[in-house]
């Protein structure tokens, strides 16, 4: 009807063309294919599917073929579009298009150019699959597929061990999450007999709370993996090893928000499992605070934004957890705008500084890269929740809902908002103000890169006005209770943001010595935070190392080679020993042989005599 299959398939074709023939194609063709396929897909969504979709109750369903069928386990390759999907489709294809365009310039001097775009297109394919899916398994296809692309793109510079390490880490940590997701699906099928969203959500309200809680918690594990929540967030900061457009597209705007999307998609289940909701909210909140503290201490510009992403994702989970699904999705969208902007801007900065990522080696860039400075300012304002910007609306929606749920969550959220404003602006000041501290002469990026930035800057600023997500989604999710003190709360959060900005201005523009003093004063605490709480090290020591050493020393060397093979070879050796013994009896001496004959006959005679007597 709407040829929904066209949406993911276009990028997929791009992937095939670039992947197979890209080596021999000129860059121009590669660009055309890569960008063209995504833009075409965007246009299809925006111009054909979007307008024709009734924004009311109507839901577009499409069944293409039966994928897996076994007994009553029946999963089709099914797509469906409703409003939530529509929003996601717009974000993915829209931002995807922008980033593709940006990347043609950013990656211009890189080796493996075609490879990069092939991967990127493949990512689009899987991501679109994810959002279009009409059942959990197809969603899972996209889910895993984007993980694959994430792995490939993080490890894009595959000569670098740190890059491939990061890729592995991302994939494996995600696998841990997928483990939960898969188990959730098993439970869903066992209890609902289907994996189709329609069927599941229709039947969910009637199911026991325990079951739904279990399903929801397992889904949360999956979502935590994909969306980098505690305790599975560790892969995301490392994922910054990938090229910057990747960080923007995959590790900020789209893929990492899949967890939020999935939870919102399953809102029916979550809503009937309040305990799980509570857990979601707590994890989201904890992640938000935790990552924000780390973000304050980082000097690598991409790491700052990475922790900021983790933190913002925590916000979204907080929104979902307190029942404000639409707020979560709203924040998802605005975050996609401003975080994509921030990352791409950071890319531009890095580009300007000839690959330097350490902010201590930057400074004063506003003179060399004024446009970059400008757009980054917009993004930073948005993330700080400056009134009127997109971030302001979505963050406020979440905090309000949190207040309604539990006021203390609101307060924690506000503190986090302040910290967010602080560290984002800290990065801003360190990069653009002061004097240039690096090498070489920084330069402004090309217009191909700046154009998408500007679009994003506009969206960051105006996204809140343009797309009122809660309004769009109001029939999908239950209404959230009004909070009487709404304006008050809004003021508090805005104030927190402003304080953060001001503080950072003071510390990094006015009194640049201060930060060092504070850091020294805090001593161990500071170092702990700067070392990201040494969580990676703890994981290594507690999980990775024991597993590897245990596997090698205990399982392989001891059990496999020692015990089992030892037993097998031991049987062989025993058999040979027995053989040796028998051979010794075979002494070659005729008299001993005769004795054996004699002894044997004695035994036989006695036994037979006795047996004969018994009858």
């Amino acid at each position: 009807m709407f040829k929904l299959w066209l949406i993911p398939l276009l990028p997929f074709l791009g992937f095939l063309i670039n992947g197979i023939f890209g080596r021999k194609l000129p860059k121009l063709v590669i660009n055309a294919v890569a960008i063209g396929s995504v833009v075409a897909s965007f246009l299809w969504v925006a111009l054909v599917v979007g307008p024709s979709t009734d924004w009311g109750e109507h839901k577009v369903q499409a069944h293409y073929f039966t994928w897996i069928q076994s007994g009553n386990f029946n999963v089709g390759w099914d797509f469906a579009v409703d409003k939530l999907t529509m929003i996601m489709l717009m974000i993915v294809t829209g931002i995807g298009s922008l980033i593709h365009i940006y990347a043609t310039s950013y990656m211009d001097h890189e080796g493996g150019y075609y490879r990069f775009f092939a991967y990127l297109n493949l990512f689009m394919f899987f991501m679109l699959n994810l959002v279009l899916a009409a059942n959990y398994l197809i969603l899972f296809v996209g889910w895993e597929g984007v993980g694959l692309c994430s792995y490939l793109l993080i490890g894009f510079y595959f000569h670098k061990k740190s890059a491939t390490n990061a890729g592995n880490k991302a994939f494996i940590v995600n696998r841990v999450g997928d483990f939960g997701f898969a188990l959730a699906m098993f439970l869903v099928f066992i209890n609902f007999g289907t994996l189709n969203f329609n069927g599941v959500f229709a039947a969910a309200p009637g199911k026991p709370v325990e079951t739904l809680t279990a399903i929801a918690l397992l889904m949360l594990v999956g979502a935590a993996g994909k969306s980098a929540q505690i305790p599975l967030y560790v892969w995301l900061p490392d994922a910054m090893e990938g090229p910057t457009p990747v960080s923007a597209l995959i590790h900020a705007a789209t893929m990492v928000t899949a967890g939020v999307y999935m939870c919102s998609r399953s809102s029916v289940i979550f809503l009937h499992a309040p305990a799980a909701m509570q857990v979601v909210a707590l994890i989201g909140l904890a992640t938000a605070v935790f990552a924000a503290t780390i973000g304050i201490t980082q000097y690598d510009i991409k790491k700052v934004f990475a922790y900021s992403t983790v933190s913002q994702l925590g916000y979204m989970f907080l929104g979902v957890g307190v029942g404000a699904f639409s707020a979560g999705i709203w924040h998802l969208m605005t975050h996609a705008f401003f975080k994509a902007l921030l990352f791409l801007g950071a890319g531009s900065v890095i580009h300007a500084c000839h690959g330097e990522q350490d902010m201590r080696q930057m400074g004063g860039l506003r003179k060399y890269a004024p446009w970059t400075c400008l757009v980054l300012a917009c993004g930073s304002l948005a993330i700080a929740g400056f009134p009127g910007t997109s971030g302001f609306f979505s963050k406020d929606a979440i905090l309000t809902a949190a207040y309604a749920h539990a006021p203390w969550m609101f307060w924690v959220g506000v503190v986090t908002a302040g910290m967010t404003a602080f560290y984002v602006w800290r990065a801003f000041w360190m990069t653009f103000w002061g004097d240039y501290r690096g090498h070489g002469k920084p330069h402004e990026s090309s217009w191909v890169m700046l154009a998408p930035l500007m679009v994003l800057a506009v969206l960051s600023l105006a996204g809140g006005f343009l797309f009122n997500v809660p309004e769009m989604l109001k029939d999908m999710f239950p209404e959230h209770g009004e909070v009487p003190e709404e304006h008050m709360l809004m003021a508090i959060s805005v104030a927190a943001g402003l304080i953060g900005i001001a503080l950072s201005w003071y510390m990094y523009v006015v009194n640049t010595e201060l930060s060092g003093k504070i850091a020294n004063a805090l001593g161990g605490v500071y170092r702990l935070v700067n070392d990201k709480y040494r969580v990676d090290e703890a994981y290594d020591a507690a999980i990775v190392e024991p597993i590897i050493h245990g596997s090698s020393a205990v399982l392989w060397k001891t059990i496999d080679q020692g015990v089992i093979d030892g037993a097998v070879n031991g049987i062989g050796a025993r058999a040979q020993n027995v053989g040796g013994l028998l051979r010794r009896i075979q002494s070659g001496n005729i008299r001993s042989y005769a004795t054996w004959v004699l002894a044997g006959s004695v035994v036989v005679i006695i036994l037979m005599g006795i047996a004969g007597g018994v009858r």
Binding site: I590, S592, V604, L607, A611
Partner: protein
């Protein structure tokens, strides 16, 4: 049975195969002065002719089944089966011998005469219906074998083998004979059917029958090299000239098993309940002793000696099941066993070189590279010895264990089968050395395969495969024969 001075023509026909063999042997002695200097190979040809003629005579004799010579002999399917078997083994032994005797410069009429006499003795054994006749046949076979084992009298190994074989063989014969005497005392006859009748009588002394049977088991188990009476076998097979080992490991064993089966399945059937457990243990012991002791052998001939003990164990399993199926299985297995062992020994003859210098397992190294055909033949025999399907060895084993399970000998079956897995190890070692090691010194001096040995390889190989793929032609005959004419 009215006594008469002149045997009937039928009687003579029923004894024709052995007559031919004996005449052939005697003729050889007469021709010795004319041939030995110029054409020593003729002796081999003559004995071949005699064997083949005897084979035809066997078939002819089978046409007039029945007892002969006042019931001392009986020509039935069972007898015919084993006559054909031992005569065929004789033929293969001749083929094996041509090259060997030539190499050792020991081609004489006596060798072939003794071979013919030995087979004649086995023919008598298998066709006997009387313990005393069995005894005489056994002694003809054995005494000829003693001499054959020590045939190369300048070779110390030959001497020792002959001495051991002779002394221990006579010792065991003493036990057998004592058993015969006791049976005779109990039943007043040495004819198997009379013994059976006598033992069936309600007042028969089963204790003494048991003792007599025990003594005979000792004698027969010795001949078939069943544990714990097996000790001589490896020494003798190792020490005797290789073609003689091939012969000793097969023909006397087949004949001994034939009388073992005949005596215990007819004469001593009455007291089966008492001998079954004994044979049970003996079967297991033979399998274990043979297989385990073979594991670490370095000499191929000796290894084959141990392996023959193990195979005797399998056949004893068939005997333990004491059913017609069991008898059939034993008969079938003996045929398969004979073929594969002759073949394996033929390879040993081939690689041994003058004075049997190269009979260690390591001397097979690289055979597959130097002479792939020989290696392929040995592979067939070894696979059959292991018991891999589509070979006679497998089907034989299968049939034996089938018989055992039908007789509720489940545990013996399982132990036996596990044993065959153990056995695989040492046979595999030959394959390993042959295919996977680099050629050794032995293979550098290896001569091309002579026509005689080639025949002694190809025919058994074909036979082994045929027994595995289309076992019916032998199996059907064996099944009819296993009834002992009942």
């Amino acid at each position: 049975m009215p006594a008469s001075f002149s045997p009937s023509p039928d009687d003579l026909l029923r004894f024709l195969p052995e007559t031919i063999l004996i005449i052939g042997g005697t003729l050889m002695m007469l021709l010795d002065p004319f041939l030995s200097a110029k054409k020593p190979k003729m002796f081999g040809h003559i004995s071949l002719v005699a064997f083949v003629a005897a084979l035809f005579a066997t078939v002819a004799a089978n046409g007039v089944p029945g007892p002969a010579f006042s019931n001392l002999l009986i020509v039935d399917g069972f007898a015919t089966y084993f006559r054909v078997l031992v005569i065929s083994i004789g033929i293969f032994a001749v083929f094996c011998s041509y090259h060997y005797l030539d190499r050792e410069k020991a081609e004489t009429s006596e060798y072939h005469a003794l071979l013919l006499f030995s087979v004649a003795g086995q023919g008598i054994m298998v066709a006997s219906n009387d313990l005393i006749m069995i005894f005489i046949g056994l002694e003809i076979s054995s005494i000829a074998s003693y001499v054959l084992a020590g045939y190369l009298r300048h070779d110390r190994r030959n001497n020792e083998a002959a001495l051991k074989y002779f002394l221990l063989g006579s010792f065991a014969t003493g036990f057998l004979l004592y058993g015969i005497a006791l049976v005779y005392g109990l039943s007043g006859s040495t004819k198997l059917n009379e013994i059976q009748k006598a033992l069936a009588a309600p007042d028969a002394s089963l204790v003494m029958a048991g003792v007599a049977a025990a003594l005979m088991i000792v004698g027969l188990a010795f001949k078939v090299s069943g544990a714990p009476f097996q000790m001589w076998a490896p020494d003798v097979y190792q020490g005797a000239p290789a073609p003689v080992s091939a012969f000793l490991a097969t023909a006397p064993k087949a004949a001994a098993f034939a009388i073992f089966l005949r005596i215990f399945m007819t004469g001593f059937q009455q007291i089966a309940a008492s001998w079954e457990p004994i044979i049970w243990v003996m079967a297991l012991a033979s399998m274990c002793v043979g297989n385990f002791a073979a594991l670490t052998q370095k000499n191929v001939k000796r290894m084959l000696g141990y392996s023959s003990i193990a195979h005797a164990g399998y056949i004893l399993v068939a005997l333990t099941s004491r059913s017609e199926i069991g008898t059939t299985a034993a008969m079938f297995y003996l045929a398969a066993y004979a073929l594969m062992n002759i073949g394996a020994f033929a390879v040993v003859i081939h690689i041994g070189g003058k004075g049997e210098k190269y009979v260690r397992i390591d001397d097979l190294a690289g055979l597959a590279k130097k002479q792939p055909f020989t290696a392929a033949m040995l592979t067939i025999f070894l696979l059959s010895l292991i018991g891999v399907p589509l070979t006679g060895g497998f089907f034989g084993k299968f049939y034996i264990f089938r018989a055992a399970i039908e007789s509720n000998l489940t545990w013996l079956t399982i132990l036996g089968l596990l044993n065959s897995a153990v056995a695989a190890y040492y046979y595999l070692r030959l394959l390993v050395v042959m295919y996977m090691h680099e050629p050794s010194e032995a293979s550098t001096v290896l001569e091309p395969l002579t026509p005689g040995l080639r025949t002694a390889l190809v025919l058994p190989a074909i036979g082994t495969v045929l027994l595995g793929v289309v076992p019916n032609f032998v199996l059907g005959f064996a099944r009819n024969a296993a009834t002992f004419g009942k």
